[in-house]
């Protein structure tokens, strides 16, 4: 696993892709906060998460948990080579997608709690 990768391209790709993930994540987090400011209630809205939303929430939690492996791979790349860095970046990017999925799920739930009520 000591192969060489085009490192600059990899670093930039990682940065750009994650940037594209975190910008909408900021928007969705802002929407949740806005909802809370407008006298909404995330805590109570969470009670109205239907089974579908619950599933997406669980999926997003699993994706976020991938950061666990990803960061270990990134650290390992200092000793094991660039391929580890590539794998680590890929896993951390998937985890970032999980963060986006997470806030998006909560945004859709908190935006219309009455529609999702069982």
């Amino acid at each position: 696993m000591g192969e060489k990768l085009p490192m600059i391209e990899l670093e930039i790709l990682f940065g750009v892709v994650n940037l594209l993930i975190y910008l909408p994540a900021i928007y969705f987090t802002h929407r949740i906060l806005q909802h809370l400011e407008e006298d909404g209630d995330v805590a109570s809205a969470m009670f109205f998460i239907k089974k579908d939303a619950e599933k997406t929430f669980r999926i997003s939690a699993i994706l976020v948990a991938l950061v666990l492996v990803g960061e270990v791979f990134i650290y390992g790349s200092h000793f094991r080579g660039d391929v580890y860095l590539g794998i680590g970046y890929a896993l951390v990017t998937i985890a970032s997608l999980g963060v986006l999925y997470w806030v998006k799920t909560l945004t859709s739930v908190t935006a219309n709690p009455s529609e999702t009520k069982e």
Partner: protein, 222 residues
Amino acid sequence: MFEKFEKTLYIQYTNRIFINLIRRTRIAGKNKKAFFRLHPPQHRYTTRIGPLAQGLEHRPYKDLTQKKPYLILCVASIREAAVPGSNPGWTNKFVECWTVTFQILFYQGLRLYLFVNLDSILVLVDGFRAVIGILFGLFALAIYWKVRNDSDLAMSSFQLNKEEIKQDYRIILYANIMMVFALVAHILGAMNIIGLLTGSILRTVYIAVIAFVLIRWVRNFR
């Protein structure tokens, strides 16, 4: 853009190599053998600037090993020079060795500091983030299992009040904004260690902050 940057670096560095060559030639005089023996191969010069010019094709830890032959060469020369009479050209070698030492101390000093120390810090920060990342991932898994086992409603046992939830999401919002800065630093600094280190530190702070929020959530499960 990067090719231009690389080219500029190479030209600058090539100029420095030529200046060094001229200086060495003057010092070594006619003792060509000593000159070539003490002169480090050129690829070592280029690999020293490798992380910048060759696009981070190696990870920082290799930098230490690449400097090793250079230092060994210097130490060997000092040992050799310390035995007067054993080698007729020992004065030249001593002067040459002093030049090498001088270069290491003054010319390469800043680069040694930048590339060795900052690289070590990058390894430490990455290691620290790996530890926090493990905790972060475990808390995310805890939330997954909680939601999975609660067959009725997700997060139904959430015990945080609205103000706490608002505070948490505000923290997440600020952390996400900080992550954007981290990624911009990462992209802009993809060719140098300072940018990577800045991005790495900010990403570590991001993970620590989100992990803190997740700890709060997991602790408040009923």
